[in-house]
């Protein structure tokens, strides 16, 4: 049995051997300040009730736990439930974190927010929270991603955010994070960096996990209320790992509940063909924390691939590495093709269009349900809706729009 605990990280940001802070000295004071402010906020009932109120009236929480009856029939095994994060305002789980961190920004007296984004979901959620609170917002986005995600770029600009094109290095999410950290080094006095995934230096992985844990806490209670039991298995997709961290964390010490993270298996098992550091990578340092990463023998970060821009990241949050090492969470992959198939299947059977990211989790949920009996329960996190993916899926399946 796993001995994983919820009592991580420690004061130095260690999740077991993972996490910590590998950043330039210029950022250390800002991280200390953020850590202190976060702990104060967490202990402050006013902060919590303000956050809860916004989550209810602005984000639309709680999101439903939905019994996917026809998908369950299709799989022919355990009952499959969806945790519907796709129904949140802005259409994904990212808003849970940006609202929380925007409140932190206000408490720290800062007026400017920076964020990174890959596909644009976190950028949109950051721009949304900043518009709501009247904060200046700059979103760093790779040149390539700006071209591919015109809709989200429009949404961000429409809400008053400045979208800055990143032309260095890989010109994708990885370099958007690098640029955001660089901006922060020169602007820490006035600026908060809203990191969007459960990655980066301490305290970010903890803060993002905590703000996202509303997903798992609600799902756990909803499952008990609806079925009278805890789920047998909980499943979420893992890129940087924020929706999965939020989904799994409240179940970590429910040792009878299996937890499964699904990475992007892409088009093959060779480096550059997938984005699955927990499955195929090794331990190393990226973006300020020690975790699993796709790297070459010198420690240079490798290129990754996924059909899903939201999973297309060479690293993963340190808590996932901890859960992997401790055996608490099983990590597996779903390929591009499997995700694409589920994107279409869930639409036809349930009238729900899952994000391509979430479709990876559904792909494993169907397989897991098939191996389980009808009185068992599988809960899968539907982290976002798939509208943003329509043109890409149309292109891949040869449909003229």
């Amino acid at each position: 049995m796993s001995n994983a605990t919820k009592s991580v990280p420690d004061a130095e940001g260690r999740f077991g051997e993972f996490g910590r802070r590998f950043v330039p000295e210029t950022l250390m004071e800002a991280l200390d300040q953020l850590h202190e402010e976060y702990l104060r906020s967490k202990a402050d009932p006013d902060f919590q009730s303000q956050l809860d109120h916004l989550l209810k009236t602005y984000v639309g929480r709680p999101s439903p736990l939905y019994f996917a009856e026809r998908l369950t029939e299709h799989a022919g095994g355990a009952k499959i439930y969806f945790k519907r994060e796709d129904l949140n305002h802005t259409g994904a789980h990212k808003i849970n974190n940006t609202i929380g961190q925007a409140l932190l920004t206000l408490r720290m007296g800062k007026k400017r927010v920076i964020a990174e984004t890959g596909a644009g979901q976190h950028g949109v959620a950051s721009a949304t929270a900043c518009a709501r609170f009247g904060l200046d917002c700059v979103v760093y986005m790779g040149e390539e991603d700006i071209r591919r995600q015109k809709l989200n770029v429009f949404l961000m600009r429409n809400m008053g955010a400045e979208v800055r094109s990143v032309t260095s290095g890989s010109r994708t999410l990885r370099d958007a994070i690098n640029e955001a950290m660089r901006d922060w080094m020169a602007s820490v006095d006035t600026t908060h960096y809203i990191l969007g995934s459960a990655v980066g230096p301490h305290p970010f992985p903890m803060i993002v996990r905590d703000f996202q844990s509303v997903i798992g806490s609600e799902a756990r209670q909803q499952c008990l209320d609806e079925t009278g039991q805890l789920p047998n298995e909980v499943i979420a997709c893992v890129g940087g790992g924020s929706n999965a961290a939020g989904m799994f964390y409240p179940f970590v010490e429910d040792y009878d509940v299996s937890l499964t993270g699904v990475e992007a298996g892409g088009r093959g098992t060779q480096p550059g063909d997938h984005a699955s550091p927990l499955t195929y990578g090794s331990k190393g340092v990226l973006h300020g924390s020690f975790s699993y990463v796709m790297q070459d023998e010198d420690g240079q970060t490798q290129d990754v691939h996924s059909i899903s821009a939201g999973l297309d990241y060479p690293g993963v949050g340190p808590e996932h590495s901890y859960w992997k090492e401790s055996g608490r969470v099983q990590y597996t992959v779903a390929t591009d093709d499997e995700a694409l198939e589920m994107f279409q299947l869930v639409a036809k059977l349930e009238g729900i269009l899952p994000a391509v990211e979430s479709s990876h989790a559904v792909a494993h949920a169907v397989k897991a349900a098939q191996k389980r009996s009808p009185d068992e329960i599988v809960v899968v996190c539907l982290s976002g809706r798939g509208d943003k993916d329509i043109s890409e899926v149309a292109r891949l399946t040869g449909i003229e729009m």
Binding site: E12, R20, R21, F22, V23, P24, E25, T26, M28, E29, A30, S168, G169, R174, D175, N178, M181, R182, M185, A186, V188, D189, K283, G284, V285, L286, H287, G288, F290, Q295, E297, D298, G299, Q300, T301
Partner: protein, 271 residues
Amino acid sequence: MDSRISAVFASLKEQNQMAFMPFITAGDPDLAATQQVIRTLGASNVDMIEIGFPYSDPIADGPVIQASYTRALESKVSVSQIFKALGELDHEELPPLVAMVSFAIVFRTGVDQFLSSCVESGISGLIIPDLPGDEAAEVFEKVKGAGLDLIQLVAPTSPRERVRKILKSCSGFVYCIAVAGTTGERERVADSLLDQLKWLREETDLPLAVGFGISKPDHVEPLRGLADGVIIGSAIVRRFQELADKTLSSEDLQKELTKLAGDMVTATHTK
């Protein structure tokens, strides 16, 4: 016994001079060029040379140095080739070399293995910019054990209390970051830096060297009496960008580096 780096600072101090340390990227445009540039800088009497190990995700560095790293990595320069190229140099003829290297690379190679390669290839000290003082204790012991120096960075944002902690894992010299932000060229030296250097002097006997934002001889004068050395990175690496863009020939690059190094040595060695 004093380390090579400590000995350099000690002898400069005796003569009331400051140290000048240029930065170059290993492998931009290739390692043969790097060897040649190191010899050129050595012949210009610079006091130390900082060698950047190219890294794919260098968050501490500004656009000029990152672009240089990207060029080096595109030409497939590896860590073992860098060590081999440095090892081929005649170190008796050269000033001490200091490696600027991300912890991602050191960890991947293995700390012990990386340090023994440093020793074999003639490197005298390391700057690991993403291994802050808090995380460095274990590595510091190993670096000392290998007879090398571990240089720590102090930022304008570092409170005095933090600095005391950082200094516990520091030897050779203290690398004082002149501006909050990444490496790059700036117009003038900030007053806040001068204040910080004053209280740093009270905290440590280690030499204080200033980098990030230092680019020309004019920047040296305000630091006299407060700092023991200066480091120039981006202003030098920018010449390699011009080389890559073919707006500068390799002969002219050598000439310009000789000129800049000569001017800086004159500025720092003036008593």
